[in-house]
Symmetry: C2
Subunit: 226 residues, 2 copies
DNA sequence: TGGGAAGCTTGAACGCGTTCTAAACTCCTG
DNA sequence: CAGGAGTTTAGAACGCGTTCAAGCTTCCCA
């Protein structure tokens, strides 16, 4: 094999390999710093030092601090493997199971996920679209589409809009959690209540009963944890 | 009247009056600067200069930049006067009318309200509680309670939770607007869709028809503006 | 194989929000 | 009136996210 046998590949290879390696180091350093010190400890200078690169490098590779945090968030996704083990027959139950599992992750590692969500609520730059990585988005979309297909959701309701409203619900409750306006104990019940209410609005008549029960169950939880 | 006739009153009066005056100037300057230059033009140094005070003074009087923006937001509330002129008989119609009116304010002065909402999504400090001023909160709560009283909302649903979810809906759609993920044209339809869906989940059976129509109407608007 | 063009890294710098110190000023009390 | 408590002021400083000109590395092309 002559050195010039694969020029295009080499072009990507040498430079791009180094770049990918630096990317990896930076994400790793960011994750470690967040885990160790929370959001406050994650400064770009500290991050660069920890990753062994210059201050400007993270900007070249990611663009902004927020983009780095988003990259970290995309990286931690043992979620789907865990979820696949608890698939149920009822499509609505699946949605609530996925919700519970997500929240379990978040409250199980508050320092870490508070930082991550906090970055998602930062409005100062334009790193949209990367927030919801495609895999995660497709996963939730699949859950909603399953519910539509099985007849649990009324056919007239646009599934994508429903999905978006569910995400709105989660986003809002996570915001309250990030700013400390809601206790971890109430977080789950609040999210379930919102999900149940939105789904109830979109549900076919036959499926309203169990959703109604979920609304009341969540209300009881919230009243108890008041 | 001797100069010492009202000592306690004077104590508050002279000094506190000056303080209040400086507060007023700072809020006014902040409002002007936001109107003229948007969020980017609102720096603490520029604000202090414009208000004719030292850089440290806004911090003494408000504590942080965010607190100042919140104070500005609380100051602009011609809302209720405008709303009182369009009260309808149907309590659900009232909710949607109030929603439309709010959104009208926001999209009617984007530079201004984008800055304000952006500050509300800032998670870095703890100026909660002042975000929703009590008057505004009581107003929306009254609308929801009206709907409950009139039987439009099922009795089992907690009105405060319903109110909170409606606010979640608005907050999320405003977030999308602030970060530019949604066009002004779609903003209203998206918010109406979310409101209608949540209310539909909480509505009494007799009232589901018109809400269903609202959901479909909003979906049609969104499909048209795609 | 060597010259030139990209692209990347680097250190320095900018403007930001925020805090601090010390001096000046204002108002109230004895 | 003197003194003291409470604030504002100017100014410097800190750490932050971000950007930029300059140098260096890596790769393509003759």
């Amino acid at each position: 094999m002559s050195p010039t046998a694969a020029p295009a590949l080499q072009l990507l290879s040498r430079r791009e390999a180094g770049k990918a390696e630096r990317r990896r180091q930076i994400i790793q350093a960011a994750r470690d710093l967040i885990r160790e010190t929370g959001n406050a400890g994650l400064s770009m200078r500290g991050l660069a030092a920890r990753a062994g690169v210059s201050l400007a490098t993270p900007y070249n590779l990611f663009g902004s601090k927020r983009a780095i945090v988003v990259a970290v968030l995309q990286d931690v996704r043992e979620f789907q493997e865990r979820f696949s083990t608890l698939q149920a027959a009822d499509p609505l139950d699946n949605i609530f199971a996925a919700l519970d599992l997500s929240l379990q992750f978040y409250v199980g590692d508050p320092a870490f996920y508070r930082t991550l969500w906090s970055a998602l609520f930062d409005t100062t730059d334009g790193v949209r679209g990367e927030i919801l990585n495609p895999k995660r988005d497709a996963f939730w979309r699949g859950l909603v589409l399953d519910a539509v297909r099985s007849g649990a959701i009324a056919g007239e309701v646009d599934p994508d809009l429903l999905l978006r409203h569910l995400e709105s619900m989660l986003r809002s409750v996570m915001f309250d959690w990030v700013v400390g306006e809601i206790s971890p104990a109430r977080l789950g019940a609040m999210a379930r209540h919102g999900y149940a209410l939105v789904l109830l609005g979109a549900a076919a008549d036959d499926w309203r009963g169990p959703l109604c029960a979920r609304v009341l169950e969540a209300q009881a939880s919230l009243a108890a944890a008041a």
